[in-house]
Amino acid sequence: MMTRKELDLWVGIFVVIGMGALLFLSLKVANLASFSGADSYQIRAKFDNIGGLKVRAPVKVAGVVVGRVSEIHFDNETFEAVVTLSLDSRYQFPKDSSAKILTSGLLGEQYIGLSAGGDVANLKSGDTLKITQSAVVLENLIGQFLYSKAAEGGDKGNETKK
């Protein structure tokens, strides 16, 4: 039988490596270190169509993640999607900044790209972004393409008739 001291040592080692594994999962696998304890402020943006944007999608400026989407809901008065962005308070942006919904890669996840404006006053918590650009919907894009092709073809047909 083991002595009490040995037993304590082994259980201590077990708890330490167990906690170490949890820490590894939180920091290295889930990347808890960024954007958790940091102060943030909330701004809102309205979009006609958010495509496949999800809560916790990144908000990027010049490709750098500066915040995350914290909430998405539907405004039944204006029939627009209202997206709440939670931005790191280390970063401040002009009041007339604009938001776009972009896609990383061809089939990648959608994220919000902010472009800084030129106003001297900065965005405060609770502000709403005025200029937004909706997500690109592939079906609409194909529809437009086909429509313009058809129009082109029609023009050509007319020309040959002449």
């Binding site: 037993l7 082994w10 259980v11 077990f14 708890v15 167990g18 949890l22 999962l25 290295k28 696998v29």
Partner: protein, 264 residues
């Protein structure tokens, strides 16, 4: 007519005696264990000893299987992802499947067969050799002295074991994916970090493994305590522990997953 009535009566007796009655007894037994849990924390040495038997001794099987499960995920995942030209997403596949499902569930199944069966066999033998009765004769409450520390030892060990399983699995996936096959190391980790959420994935995984720990050790201590005091009785109880707790883990996993990830 008489035969059918006889059959129905036999069925009813079986259901009532084997299922309903035992379930009620098991619930009362759990409440009794919780009520008498004081000594296992006041004299924490009792629980530490059980953490050693349930947790430390399960380390080898958990670490080795975690590593192999992760390596297999790496191989299989790479094969499928490479067809779609997105082999960099291997980290996401390995880590999400481990943290959300495989870590808690497989660790719990291993824990049930490694530690759960040992708990049942030990308590069953203590009962068969009248050690529990002897304790009662000496005014020592067997539930407080024997059952509760084993229960808490198992409950506290399970989340740590599941976390170790997941961490080893991610490491195994890294070994095969990055070291062996040659997936880009930077995108392996960064895509993983972008996809795995702390609250949604890690915390839910820990909650799952905690629930599994409660279920397994509850079943194990109850089966041991309720075992007929014979050699055959103890061996049957041990088998039942492994079967029932494995089924309970899989069923609970479905319920918990439905609640956590589908928002039911």
């Amino acid at each position: 007519m008489g035969r059918i009535a006889e059959l129905l009566r036999a069925l009813g007796t079986r259901v009532i005696n084997h299922w309903v009655w035992r379930l009620g007894f098991a619930t009362r037994f759990l409440l009794l264990t919780l009520k008498h849990s004081g000594p296992s924390f006041r004299r924490f040495y009792l629980t530490v000893r059980e953490i050693y038997f349930a947790g430390v001794l399960s380390l080898i099987i958990i670490l080795v299987s975690g590593l192999f499960v992760g390596m297999v995920l790496g191989l299989q995942g790479y094969d499928t992802l490479a067809r779609y030209g997105s082999s960099e997403a291997l980290g996401v596949l390995v880590s999400l499947s481990l943290v959300r499902e495989l870590g808690p569930v497989v660790a719990a199944l291993l824990f049930a067969s490694r530690a759960g069966s040992a708990i049942t066999a030990e308590i069953g033998l203590m009962k068969a050799t009248e050690q529990l009765d002897a304790m009662e004769m000496m005014a020592v409450d067997p539930i407080a002295r024997v059952i509760a520390p084993r229960f808490w030892g198992g409950v506290l060990s399970m989340p740590l074991l599941a976390a170790l399983f997941s961490a080893m699995g991610v490491f195994g996936g890294y070994l095969v994916g990055v070291r062996l096959i040659g997936v880009d190391e930077g995108s392996f980790w960064s895509q993983m970090q972008a996809a795995v959420d702390f609250r949604e994935d890690i915390v839910n995984g820990v909650i799952k493994s905690f629930v599994f720990g409660v279920a397994i050790t509850w079943i194990a201590v109850f089966e041991g305590y309720d075992a007929p005091p014979t050699a055959e009785g103890v061996s049957r109880a041990t088998t039942r522990t492994v079967v029932i707790s494995s089924l309970a883990v899989l069923a609970l996993d479905f319920v918990l997953t439905a609640m956590m990830f589908r928002g039911l």
